[in-house]
Symmetry: C2
Subunit: 223 residues, 2 copies
């Protein structure tokens, strides 16, 4: 079995991506990040998802962000925007170079584990407008990974960035996840959950999730 690294935040998209990687026949090693996000409850979900869906390993990397004060996801004094999906081209929840950092760690881990296939739940259709969720970025990163690693240069691995959800609507993602048997109650999407982990229902991520379930005609068990 070929081993793959799956970036697993604990949200709906990355959980679906994990199941797609498994369906495609990969042995899955999950990688999550503790970067001081206010929605750290997602890490507990990531642990549960990795265990439930057969990841052969799961690593949570402590990521020391250079400027956490610039994003509402990491700076408590910045409010997470509510009911404002699409109002800003790139909202204040943007974390500088987040997917570049995440993918760099995935490549480093993949090189060490002999895993060239890297799965990311990026979506460029129903999303907040983050630049690092677009095909152009992911393709450029893939090329960089193959040029900047021993395994890539010596061709013992070929790094590939898989983003199977990239062109799907949220409704299509929810349907796909259901067909793969995802237990939605294990996932957490909210940027600004309560201390008990209950979703706010109004941040971009909650609104996108609600749109997905509505389009799919499925009830979200966590609402």
């Amino acid at each position: 079995m070929t081993r793959a690294i799956v970036l697993l935040s604990g949200g709906l998209d990355s959980a679906t991506t994990l199941l797609i990687a498994r369906e495609q026949g990969f042995e899955v090693f999950a990688l999550s990040f503790d970067y001081g996000q206010r929605h750290r409850v997602e890490l507990e979900r990531a642990r549960q998802l990795a265990a439930r869906y057969g990841a052969t390993g799961h690593r949570i990397v402590r990521l020391d962000l250079p400027a956490p004060e610039t994003s509402a996801l990491t700076e408590p004094s910045l409010a997470v925007p509510k009911l404002s999906l699409g109002k800003e081209a790139i909202p204040v929840t943007y974390v500088p170079a987040r997917n570049t950092l995440f993918l760099a760690h995935a490549v480093a881990l993949g090189e060490a584990l002999g895993a060239g296939d890297i799965f990311i739940g990026a979506n460029a259709l129903d999303y907040s407008g983050y630049p690092d969720c677009r095909r152009e970025f992911l393709d450029a990163f893939e090329k960089t990974a193959n040029l900047g690693t021993r395994a890539g240069v010596q061709a013992t691995l070929r790094f590939r960035v898989h983003a199977p959800l990239l062109e799907m609507t949220k409704g299509e993602i929810v349907v796909r996840a259901r067909n793969l048997g995802l237990d939605f109650s294990l996932t957490s999407s909210c940027y600004d959950p309560s201390a008990e982990g209950r979703p706010c229902g109004a941040c971009d991520s909650c609104l996108l999730r609600a749109k997905g379930f509505r389009e799919a005609g499925i009830a979200d068990p966590i609402r």
Copy 2:
């Protein structure tokens, strides 16, 4: 003054790069990494260099490497090769995706600080053969940074990866450093120093440094 991020390890090359960035008129913010390297003495040198040569800020990021056990720079039980420069295409001191990780952090910091210019002391002539020190890699990374950040996409910054030493011999670097007034005694190049920080004299990095001073006809004050 335009602000630049300078990756500062505390070695000869990055110290010279810092002085070049200053000479080119940049305000310099230095960025170093504590990644569990056995030659952590270099971080103390980085602190001294940043203070001495007018960096307006210096950040040391704690980097949680995914697989420190694969490199002799981070795994104490792996011996650092001695007197073997050039014997391996890419030696065991290679750290998976190190410059991808370093540059990803530099871009994240640069975006937050409004600094698109990133300086790295990479050298592809007198070097250990690391793939992430080559022009192709640095160019691909630069493109990735501009595609994967808000500042790049909205064109409020243009990320540029400057590698002014890339095509220089070690001798040329030493001469350049001397002409810029670098105090060589503040730099540390050795991969495997003693507890007191004395260089081993035989690792790749010591051999390359010695070659540089020999070619330049200058005595190295730390030998």
